[in-house]
């Protein structure tokens, strides 16, 4: 499951169903063409798909952000300083 699908699935009903359907639509070329008729929905879907793209560690690392390194540093600091 992608992080975007996990995000959509964790929402409340009926948003969960609507968002899930829109994400599926936005992933397809013909679906994206349809969404252009609904500018606000199209903007939201583009933002969500962009979020998913830039959440990919391989992509974000190229922009200077490595989530694994951030988490590893946090783990080391917690261990060193005895934090929860």
């Amino acid at each position: 499951m992608t992080s975007l699908n996990e995000f959509a699935a964790a929402g409340p009903w009926p948003q969960r169903a609507v968002l899930g359907a829109l994400v599926s639509l936005a992933r397809r070329r013909r679906g994206r063409a349809l969404l252009r008729y609904l500018p606000q929905v199209d903007q939201l879907m583009q933002a969500l798909l962009a979020t998913e793209h830039f959440d990919d560690p391989a992509v974000s690392r190229r922009l200077g952000w490595d989530p694994a390194a951030v988490i590893a540093r946090g783990r080391d600091l917690r261990r060193l300083e005895g934090r929860l």
Partner: protein, 490 residues
């Protein structure tokens, strides 16, 4: 199967209000049970990846939204720590002008001197201190440069953090546990003092007999019944869910104000493409503020995050979005927060909240002005290009309600405090009007918009409530007069 617990005080919710009240009460000698609907979170499970963390740490994956014009995203924390787990950690005491208003308008006897010991106590518990310029990062440098050139009042924010290294993901779970949210401060203190904390406990009923609180009935995550026998109930389910719970139990409705008076501090954010490397996620995301326009109800505060955060918030589409994101290391972001005069309402529909909120004309004017100021700030800082949170081609001064892209982080007021039973849901001691033994300790009691981040106000009020229930005056941290005595719980 039914489990039974007995306590002096049952606290519903382990967020900013509930956790503080529980710890102070337990340390004061009261037998305390805390019922938290959500789970306990561990820093071991944090990933620093926004979509995953939204799904796991936020109620409804952060998709809570108001109905109205414009719709406003209202992300809320879920579980032990509540919204303190996922907020930016900004700490402001209640502004004196707000306390003056509360006294005049709501008959609340809460001045600076009265609240000072509670604030000092909370600030010591949470290690509140000012962010250093080094830790604030490049995003704050941009805003500071702009504010200095414009001669606008500004400063570094005070935060509840200890040993922060600027991981840049406060809103997605602090990986170093540097942010001193109540889940790692007050909740462990409550447990150490003997409080029982039950997670996954969905409170169904507040049991009343003869107008007095008798206990609480809940359903556990395993589907079992749990009853807590307690003569004192502290409801701290948060501004959105407290009115739903009270309404479901026929409580707090006498004044007709329950669920009304919702203020939100609606906010938005803009971006600037700089010539320099900003690396907005290196440093404290919310570390700097500009309060030049606070008297107009406009605060400019820092916001930042990793690429996935920026991709979500950047107000661009298609090729322009892709080009701006390719330059992410040179992007700066800053927010506009409005001290709102608009008021919304929370109603319960099949046990879930329906939140209605429409931006009034005065707040539309504040956003027009605030977004214009944001552009000035970025321009003065030397921005190559500014991306305002408005549709392409719309100028700030011409923006309409539907043009604003808003989020809100500080819901307040749905069980507002007012000394007069006909005008408020709780009194100045946070006791529910018309019921004995039921108190409220969360943002819902805050009777007006604060204009600043509210977690300290909520925690100070919860501290004051706990000491009131213990029959003692609040003792400032470090005072030689010691803490409350054991066994004086209501």
């Amino acid at each position: 199967m039914t489990s039974h617990l007995a306590a002096d005080v049952c606290v519903i919710g382990a967020g900013a209000g509930g956790a503080v009240a529980a710890a102070e009460l337990a340390e004061g000698g009261a037998r305390v049970v805390v019922l938290e609907q959500g789970p306990a979170h561990s820093a071991h499970d944090f990933t620093a990846r926004p979509p995953e963390m939204l799904a796991r740490l936020y109620r409804d994956a952060g998709q809570t939204t108001t109905l109205g014009m414009p719709p406003i995203g209202l992300p809320l924390g879920s579980g032990i720590g509540g919204t303190t787990l996922i907020n930016s950690g900004t700490c402001f005491r209640t502004p004196p002008r707000v306390l003056d208003r509360w006294a005049a308008e709501f008959g609340l006897d809460l001045d600076e001197a009265t609240l000072r010991p509670a604030f000092e106590r909370v600030e010591q518990a949470l290690s509140v201190s000012e962010v250093t310029p080094e830790l604030a990062g490049g995003n704050a440098d941009v805003a500071r440069r702009g504010a200095e050139r414009l001669g606008w009042s500004h400063g570094y924010l005070r935060r509840n953090a200890r040993g922060c290294v600027g991981s840049g993901v406060c809103a997605y779970g602090c990986p170093t546990s540097a942010k001193q949210h109540v889940g790692i401060t007050y909740v462990p203190r409550a447990e150490a003092a003997g409080a029982q904390v039950v997670t996954g406990a969905d409170v169904r009923r507040i049991v009343m007999r003869g107008g007095r609180a008798r206990g609480v009935e809940a359903r556990t995550a395993a589907g079992e019944s749990l009853t807590v026998e307690a003569p004192t109930i502290v409801v701290a389910a948060g501004t959105i869910y407290t009115p739903v719970l009270l309404s479901r139990n026929g409580l707090g409705g006498g004044s007709g104000e329950l669920g009304r008076n919702l203020s939100l501090h609606p906010a938005t954010a803009g971006f600037a493409l700089m010539d320099e490397t900003v690396d907005m996620a290196r440093g404290v995301p919310q570390s700097f503020y500009v309060d030049e326009f606070a008297d107009e109800g406009i605060m400019l505060e820092g916001i930042a995050g990793p690429p996935a955060h920026a991709a979500m918030a950047l107000p661009l589409k298609g090729r322009r979005h892709a080009e701006a994101m390719a330059a992410y290391p040179r992007l700066a972001e800053f927010g506009v927060m409005v001290s709102d005069s608009s008021r919304g309402r929370v109603r319960a529909i099949r046990g879930r909240p329906l939140i209605r909120y429409d931006l009034d004309d005065a707040d539309v004017a504040r956003f027009r002005a605030g977004i214009g100021r944001l552009r000035e700030l970025f321009d003065a800082a030397g921005a190559r290009e500014v991306f305002l949170p408005l549709p392409h081609g719309v100028k700030p001064e011409e923006a309409r309600r539907r043009d604003f892209k808003l989020m809100a982080f500080h819901p307040l007021g749905t069980a507002r405090a007012d000394a007069r039973p006909a005008h408020g849901v709780v009194d100045g001691d946070l006791a529910l009007h018309g019921a004995q033994g039921v108190y409220v300790a969360d943002g819902s009691v805050v009777p007006s918009s604060l204009g600043v981040n509210p977690q300290m106000t909520i925690m100070a009020l919860a501290t004051r409530l706990a000491f009131h229930l213990l029959g003692r005056d609040v003792v400032a941290a470090g005072s030689s007069s010691g803490g409350p005595e054991v066994g004086q719980a209501a």
